[in-house]
């Protein structure tokens, strides 16, 4: 089986979110870059688990971005995966990014393409669905379990108020959510091995962009909390009723 895991670089959760150049660019000074957590914990680790069960499995990692991404790709390779591909271009349009990945996928006949459920920077949840459309493959989003049985996948996904399980034939695109796998820390052997694993850098295909960022706005901080004395709980009930209209 051949698996492609899509990875995105995102600022560490605790990063200060600020913008520069008249609020048109993300302020990346001092930002710690990480692998988008959902891509790493759920998509990548589940792929590795599948390879551990079936050693004939090949795992390719792919990211779309400039050379700043190399450190996070090496980290991903240290967790697992056979080789990595970086498409050397910086772009914020999700169609453009997904179409670049689809171009690579077209040449490699992957059985399974995995993404995280969304990135923690742009939160669009759109890469997996777009890739699936461009490759005319089934796509299941917010998958929480994946079992491979021959040429079929048994996939469980979150639905409002519960979960749904379906059987679908490979090839398949999945976006992965909590439950799929657990975070792994790379060990020393993995880190050493990652140094010599191939990291191919490809130039981007000619793809159109459909959207562009005009500017960003930082969400204004809450003015300040209205504190109510612990011996005056009735006042909170009144506020919830009269101001918040909660009941």
């Amino acid at each position: 089986m051949k698996i492609l895991v899509c990875l995105s670089k995102s600022p560490d959760t605790t990063s200060k979110i600020a913008f520069k150049d008249n609020n048109t660019l993300f302020e990346d000074a001092g930002v710690q870059w990480i692998i988008n957590p959902y891509d790493e914990w759920y998509a990548l680790v589940r792929a590795i688990e599948l390879k551990e069960k079936d050693v004939s499995t090949t795992i390719h990692l792919i990211t779309v971005g400039n050379a700043d991404c190399d450190a996070i790709i090496r980290k991903a390779l240290a967790i697992g995966g056979d080789e990595a591909i970086r498409i050397n271009v910086q772009n914020n349009d999700s169609y453009y990014i997904a179409a670049q990945i689809a171009e690579v996928a077209k040449q490699n006949n992957y059985d399974l393409i995995l993404t995280g459920k969304e990135s923690i920077d742009y939160n669009t949840s759109s890469i997996g669905g777009t890739i699936a459309e461009l490759l005319d493959m089934p796509f299941i989003s917010l998958a929480t379990k994946l079992v491979i049985e021959g040429s079929n996948a048994i996939v469980t996904r979150d639905i409002e108020g519960g979960e749904e399980t379906a059987e679908v034939s490979l090839p398949l695109v999945l976006s992965c959510a909590k439950g799929m796998a657990e975070q792994r820390i790379p060990n020393m052997r993995g880190i050493m091995a990652a140094r010599t694993k191939p990291l191919k850098v490809l130039e981007p295909a000619a793809i159109e962009t459909f959207t562009s960022v005009v500017n960003y706005e930082v969400k204004p901080a809450k003015t300040s909390v209205k504190l109510i004395a612990a011996d005056n709980v009735a006042e909170l009930a009144r506020l919830l009723h009269e101001e918040v209209k909660a009941f």
């Binding site: 923690i120 759109s126 089934p138 796509f139 379906a166 969400k219």
Partner: protein
């Protein structure tokens, strides 16, 4: 020309998030001086004529029962074809579980630019610019869609539902349904609970509650407010509460009207899951808990005293107002 809104259903009932999308689509249509039309897939028990009250002039339906299960490939194909038939220049989804599954796929099929996670009406004064939340609710981006057809997926609970008089015309779309490659084998719904991602009010407990045996007072408060239950990650990891209640970066991201956090300090990973909530109430013994910085109302105090008292006071007010 039209604005086409996908009205998502579950078990034959149109979802609340779809009413927001319909109201939003109606306002977009007004901005563009065109009509708002809706698309409903599958068998619904709701009378779709009533979608007229959200400003919808025409409801297109494909009532095949097989469409009560979501297959993104089939849905995208039908929605894109419906968009073509209705001459839609804007297609609107709710960014709920279904929207996350299909909006991007439909956009790719239509070669349309997508803004997923929109939180305001488009600015059409020059071009077509839509505001969306980014960085897990910590900032906004204004995105220009540069294609003839635009796809917008609206964050749940970010746009008010507006209701007026009116009925919609219903039109049955005659489109061939492609064969599904996805065979649903099992559906497991949690019964008797309000689904967390759909809830208006969420009552959430953290490690400060010391153990699962203390959740009775949390459940009582939630019951009084018709709220869904949630918890922080340590609580789910310790198996005090089921994982489907876990909110935060690794659990569910929610945006209720009211989020009441009890005994939760407010780590940044937790806030990433809840900071799109409209109003946040924090109850914590520690006045230095970071959550107070993101809260609208707070009580520094012992949850074991405050929470039962709060439930009692709320019940009193509910009782008083029912007379």
């Amino acid at each position: 020309m039209s604005v086409l809104i996908f009205a998502d259903q579950a078990d034959g009932i149109i979802k609340k998030a779809s009413f927001e999308a319909l109201s939003y689509g109606n306002k977009v249509a007004a901005l563009l001086d065109t009509t708002a039309e809706a698309l409903v897939l599958g068998n619904v028990t709701d009378n779709v004529v009533t979608l007229g009250k959200y400003g919808i002039s025409k409801v297109h339906t494909i009532t095949d029962i097989s469409l009560n299960h979501l297959d993104t490939q089939v849905y995208a194909s039908l929605i894109a074809e419906a968009a073509g038939k209705t001459g839609a220049t804007v297609v609107v989804f709710s960014q709920n579980q279904t929207g996350k599954a299909i909006a991007a796929r439909v956009a790719a099929k239509l070669k349309a630019g997508l803004v997923a996670g929109a939180c305001a009406l488009p600015d059409v004064s020059s071009g077509f610019v839509v505001k969306k939340t980014v960085f897990s609710g910590k900032a906004y981006a204004n995105i220009s869609i540069n294609t003839p057809i635009k796809v917008i997926s609206l964050n749940p609970n970010s746009f008010p539902v507006t209701v007026a008089e009116g009925n919609a015309e219903v039109s049955v779309l005659n489109i061939n349904i492609p064969e599904s490659k996805v065979k649903v084998t099992n559906i497991n719904k949690i019964v008797g609970e309000i689904p967390l991602t759909e809830a208006d009010i969420v009552v959430s407990g953290g490690r400060g509650l010391r153990g699962p045996e203390n959740w009775g007072m949390i459940e009582a408060l939630a019951q009084s407010l018709h709220a869904a239950l949630a918890c922080s990650r340590p609580v789910a990891d310790a198996n005090w509460r089921p994982h489907h209640e876990h909110v935060g970066q690794t659990g569910y991201q929610i945006a209720p009207n009211l989020y009441i956090a009890i005994g939760i300090s407010g780590a940044i990973q937790h806030l990433a899951g809840v900071n799109r909530s409209k109003v946040i109430v924090v109850i914590n013994t520690d006045p230095e808990a970071p959550f107070f910085k993101s809260a609208d109302y707070g009580i520094v105090g012992d949850a074991f005293v405050v929470v039962p008292k709060l439930t009692e006071e709320i019940n009193k007010l509910i009782e008083k107002n029912s007379h």
